[in-house]
Every structure is written in structure tokens, then in C-alpha cells.
Amino acid sequence: MTCDEARILLHALLDNELDAGHAREVEAHIASCPDCAAEFAAQREMQRVLADTNLRYTAPASLRARIEASLPQAPRQQPSRRSVLRGFAMGSAVSALAASGVVAVVLRQDDQQRILSEVVSAHLRSLQAGHLTDVVSTDQHTVKPWFNGKLDVAPPVIDLTAQGFTLVGGRLDYIDARAIGAVVYKRRQHVVNLFVSQTSNTEYRTPKTETMQGFNCRRWGNRGLNFWAVSDIGADELAEFVDKFEAAMKANVEG
């Protein structure tokens, strides 16, 4: 074995990567060559120092959270809710009735908060490269039929380009463990996601704006649909979007 060969193979010996035959050959060379023996000793020493030093990095918690948020979320289990209700059922009928009203209100707000956070997560996810749209089109007559058959209820798709919000496409998303439609608009360089899901409640519920993680979310209900519009544009502009959308919807229904 030449020194040149040994200078490479001694690393494999250090790393326990050699089979018995080759290991013996390298060891024999090292035993007979002081230069290679010195190199081997020096490299072994360096490896020991390196092994004693923590050279790894720890991923920041925010990175872990971002990656978690980008994965489809399993529905969160809420075993506590049932046990709370069972607890009330054991009380008197009157107090149970009174209490369940309170519980229902509390739970609904809890749910809404959770759904709001899911909506904002879905919005964040959509901003990552290649995630914004499943169907890309500025034409409402292309985007609307794309949803057909993919969802129980296809979301209304309305082109608002003339009103300052450009339709850019549509996407399937998951909120509250259900597939729902998202219609994507742009205002200048800002993305507006409009999430639409079905609800048994056909009453009109007035829009409300909430803020989470720096995003504005305007939520309202109409014609048996729940809407959430999410964006980083200002609350006033988002309200304008919702007004324009509702006005166009009304015109469509009446027209």
C-alpha cells in the first residue's frame, strides 16, 4: 500500500468503514510508516475534539411551528367538551338547561376562535411558493366549474377586477377537518383568500373583523354559506372587499 492510498483509507479506518481485510492492510502500513502513523494519530485526535464539541444547530421553534402549520391538520380532539356536558346532565333539569345555554355560547366562541386560527393558518400556507392556487385563471367561468364535483357546495366565484380586486384563481383547502373552497384575489401585491363553507344557518350575519397574527379576517354569513376573507391589507380595504363582493352577489341573484 502506498502512502497516498493510506492517507485516504486511514479515514475509513477511523470511521469503522473498512472490512477486516482492508483494515489489516491499512494498519500494517501505519505500523511501518511513521509519517502515516503521525497523520493517523493527528486525525484521530481531531476527531476526538470534534466529537467532544457540540457542532449541531437546533431548529428555531418558529420554524417547527411553520412546518407544522403547513401540514394538513388532523381535527383536534376535545374530550373535555363531552365530559363537561355529562357533568351538567347529572345536575337538575333546570340548572342543566340554564348551564347548557352558557356552555353552548362558550363552546361556540371557542370553536370560532379555533376556526379563525385555522383560517389564518390556511392563508399563511397559501402564501408559500406554489400553494396559492390549484386552478389559475382570472376568468370566473373557468374557476367556478373547476370546483364542481370537488365540494358539496361550490363557492360563488365573482370577478371583482373592475372593483379593484383581481381574481387570480381557486384552491381546495381544509378548515375544521373539512375540504372547503378558497377563492383567491389580489389587491396590488396583496393576496386576499376568500374561504367559503356551507352552513345550515341561512340567516344573514353581519361582517365582523378580527385580527390574528397580523392578518385581518372578516367573517360573515349569507344564503347558507359562511365566508372568511383573510388578508394582510388594512381592515378598511378588507371591509371594502366584502362590501363589493356582497353587492356583486346581490346583483347576480337579482339579475
Binding site: I8, H11, E17, A42, L50, R56, I67, P72, Q128
Partner: protein, 182 residues
Amino acid sequence: MPVNDDLQKAQRFREAALPYLDDVYTLARYLLRDASDAEDAVQECYLRALKHFDSYRGPAMKPWLFAILRNVCNAEYARRAHRPSAIEDTPGAAEQTPIWQESEASPETEVLRSRDAGAIRKLIDALAEPFRETFVLREINNLSYREIAEAVGAPVGTVMSRLARARAMLRAAWTAEEEQAK
């Protein structure tokens, strides 16, 4: 139901891939030498990995994730190359570095002083590619030669010679610094 399939897939992916987040992030830090670029690269790596998770057949998750991360980082390097301030690696010059250098001090007596992690990281960061990558995969990410070969798409022989050169260069830089400190 497709929704459930997606959720199940995501859950399997979470269990298989997320435990290696620190490993992937560590490699990204050494490849890109920038904390925020590394974060972006790791996030993109996991998105791509999830997308291709259906076609993942093993054997080991770690080299598979590393191979994806390399592709992301190479794209980042290509992007940086368009910037005037791009950090230029010169593997050409590094290839000419002799595998060992005669040191004047008697090698037997030469004991490396323990250094703090920050100083050693700096020495590693100064290694040229592809030697830095091979060195980090072996010494910090603890991959076997075969796994490194798989992750970087090179023969095991190439991995071996790169590793030998990387360690020779690192030791030379290390001792040179100690000489200066004297």
C-alpha cells in the same frame, strides 16, 4: 375519503420526517452559512418532501431528506450567483490543496487545543464545497459513507477522497490558526 387519506399521510409524514428537523436544519446552516436562508431552505425541503412522500420507498429517511435539502440549497446558490455579492466557492483551487501538508512541528507532539464550538464552526464554514458538505454529513450528521453517497449522488470512493481532503484542510487551517495565536 380523500380528506382522510391526506390527514393520514400527513400524520405518517409527521412521524417519519419531523424527528430529523434539527439534523436537516444543521446541514442547511453549514451549506448556506446563513440562519434565515437556512430556515427558508428547511421549510421548502419539508414541503417538497411531503409532496414526494408517496414515492418515498426508503431505506433511510435522513439521507432522503438531505438529498432534497441539497437540491433546495443548490437552487439557492444558483440564485445567489446572480447577485454581485455572491459568496464564491472555488473548488478548483481546493482540489489543488495537497492531501497532507508537512508540518514543521513534530506531529506526535502536536495536540490540538480544544476550541469553543463557535471557533470550530467558523473553521468548518471556511471549507470549500463539496468538502464542507461531505465533512458535515459524516462528522456532524453521522451518516455512513454509503448514506453520504446516496444523499449527494456520488460514488463511495469519491466520498472517501473528499472526506480525506476535507479533514486535511480543516486540520491545516486549525493548526495554522494556533500557530498565529502563539
